[in-house]
Amino acid sequence: MTLTVTDLSVARGGIPVLEGLSFALAPGRALILRGPNGIGKTTLLRTVAGLQPPLTGQVEGAEDQIAYAAHSDGLKPTLTVAENLIFWASVFGRNGIEQALDGFDLQALRDRQAGALSAGQKRRLGLSRMLVTGRPVWIMDEPTVSLDKTSVAMFADAVRAHLGQGGSALIATHIDLGLEADVLEVGPYKAKPPEIDDFDGGFL
């Protein structure tokens, strides 16, 4: 399923930040978003993920297709690594977490409480959650924060494998993952302030 974004404008706190964005993300492809801090990458990703409504434009092919990974991983500190993953797997109606544990080298930690993990290990667990969802489109916001070099490579491998199985990924990141990916620079799409004279004159 291709994710298609047409003429999208997104707003943060009622103020338009990006406008006129269009792209398509075909199965097997990855798209890297780049742009300076505060430009609205997170807002864009949240809009594509359906967490907030677009100001204008359409997002097609996202509903019930996406898995979203934000800055925080949604982990419960008092549950073990395996329990956290099993929970997310069953929320998405799936079982089998072995592949996810293997993919991010978490087998040795599986019975450790998530609260006792280091920041990098937590992040790996958060990313391995993407594998258990079974969703084809991955939407990821700065996935490599607090990962070391080996883990970044591990993550890149996981994305590559996902793309190889016909999945796709939309990733906002500043580092080079070494992926075969298109790059979308969002800077030029920065929203111009709306005309003061339109209907809600000067409200937005």
């Binding site: 706190g13 009622g14 103020i15 929203a191 302030p193 209907f199 809600d200 004159g201 000067g202 409200f203």
Partner: protein
Amino acid sequence: MSIWEYANPKKFLATTEKVMPALWVSSAVLISVGLVWGFFFTPDDYRQGSTVKIIFLHVPSALMAINAWFMMLVTSLVWVIRRHHVSALAARAAAPVGVVMTVIALVTGAIWGQPMWGTWWAWDPRLTSFLVLFLFYLGYIALWEAIDNPDTAADLTSILCLVGSVFAVLSRYAVNFWNQGLHQGASLSLDEKENVADAFSNPLYVCMAGFVLLFIALVFYRTGTEIRARRIKALMARERLEA
């Protein structure tokens, strides 16, 4: 030309600015006439003496306390359905006016109740439901104040207003459970024969009309303030955006 044109903030401001003087003057005249007429040119009640005359403040403020909430309910619905910012801001503007009306109704009620019932306060159904209404107003205003993003605040307070209305009505009937209460029946109603005496009803109507106009004037005025505050916020955000 539809009523929705006034949902444009500019149009709203331009129109209200034109009618504001008339509203202020007519509400002031009506309230003064009604109160003077009521206080000095009506006979004392044979049972309640002159204490009855507080009715000219009590009934109109109680009327507006409820109708302000009703107006907020309507404007909240308009915001939820049509998403006109002015509508949400009008709801926000009406809430403090409603609170003041509720407080006036409660205080004048207590002052009236003291000589009549021998107590400032009784947990009578009508009194209690006004107190609950007061609490709803407080929660509503507190929620507006607590949220930075104006659209989020408008959405959340609208839903609170809708849910709150249902629970306010439920509370009104729930408190009836205790007893029938001390409070007299409705002072004015269409289907009852035993209304207040004619001598009282005419100045009362004048006072009520005055309070309605005063409420409209206050809400227009405050909505205008909210619109300007909102615009300043938007302009500052715009400046940050351009910088």
